[in-house]
Symmetry: C2
Subunit: 216 residues, 2 copies
């Protein structure tokens, strides 16, 4: 039986592939695992049935038989541990790849989420314009460090791994901010990730949902 994930019925990113179901779709495509999708509205996400699956009322969730998981990082890691394609073979290399999953979610994404808070949740506040450069500078610190570590390598540690999948997904959230372009090696890294056939298939699948939802 295929696992079932949840995704936005009408994604607020308008099909740009920035919602967190994209990370799970991409991982499933990388390992070649078919999956079903249950679409949920914002109201359904906050209703008891979904809160049983996801206590924080978000997407994605992952259900496979009796197992129900939430958190894109946990789901991607779960898939990566059970199917070839997202983690290297050696125990040490595997632990390092998992470290990059945590680094993407715990160190690089928080200041990027703060940019979304500044731009969306607080865009009408009196401090919005004055505060934005501070938020951007905190992102710049992380991007510079990440750029230094990546250097001219294709991926963060050897071959493409779940760590790269998560890091590229997080960096894509910088969107049109222009911050990624300040580091050509990071921009190339993300472009390399987006060019992967598995990414392309996942992107097309989530875009199809948005197009259908918007009656297109």
């Amino acid at each position: 039986m295929s696992p079932t994930i949840t995704a936005f019925k009408a994604s607020p990113d308008r099909g740009r592939g920035l919602a967190r179901d994209m990370r799970v779709r991409w991982a499933l495509e990388e390992v070649g695992l078919p999956y079903d999708v249950r679409l949920v509205t914002f109201a359904e996400m906050k209703a008891p049935a979904h809160l049983t699956r996801h206590p924080f009322g978000q997407i994605p969730t992952y259900e496979d038989g009796d197992l129900a998981l939430f958190e894109s990082g946990a789901i991607v890691l779960h898939i990566a541990e059970r199917h070839a394609g997202l983690l290297p073979a050696g125990a040490d290399a595997r632990a390092r790849a998992i470290t990059w999953v945590f680094a993407a979610l715990g160190t690089v994404e928080p200041p990027i989420l703060d940019l979304q808070v500044a731009r969306i949740l607080e865009h009408d506040k009196p401090w919005a314009e004055a505060r934005l450069p501070l938020v951007e500078d905190r992102i710049r610190v992380r991007l510079r460090q990440l750029s230094d570590r990546l250097g001219d390598a294709d991926w963060l540690d050897g071959g493409f791994s779940a760590g790269d999948l998560m890091m590229a997904s997080v960096l894509l959230r910088l969107g049109a901010s222009g911050l990624l372009a300040e580091h050509p090696n990071l921009a190339a890294y993300v472009a390399r990730a987006e060019a992967r056939p598995a990414y392309q298939r996942a992107f097309a699948a989530q875009l199809a949902v948005f197009v259908a939802a918007s009656g297109g």
Copy 2:
């Protein structure tokens, strides 16, 4: 050979156990694994030798033979996967415990870190006072959801796990904000975690470093 972790030579939290080495110390104490500590100054954290271990120039790191890891979540998970005491036996229960590690770091901690940004990095900004209630309300949303899920259980999913270790560590960062006290079951959950002998040993070890550094 024992693993070696890094920690602040002089922790900015003044020995209150809120620095991220505490999470790793606590995990090592839970599984009964002896460890060595290399103390680093802020200058050393940003120097090339440490950046090789930790590309973002932070603590903790974890070295065991040829393996070098960073990110407290990845290190705790690495320890939990190799030693009994932090993950349940069944595969599904194990995946759910790991989900809580990610939920702590990816969903609950970011708004709490934002509170630290607001209080420390931006405390002298003209918007500091007006913005604080917004930041606190974003934390309140997560605490209410977490409180609903925990209910009157002792731990988040069955017995104490790495997920509880990480969630309690994150909640402890709320410190004297008063936010935790709004949910008695969460306050009791954190107190239950702090009462564990392994937590107590880890806390004493990090406190001893601070006392020594401050010439006490």
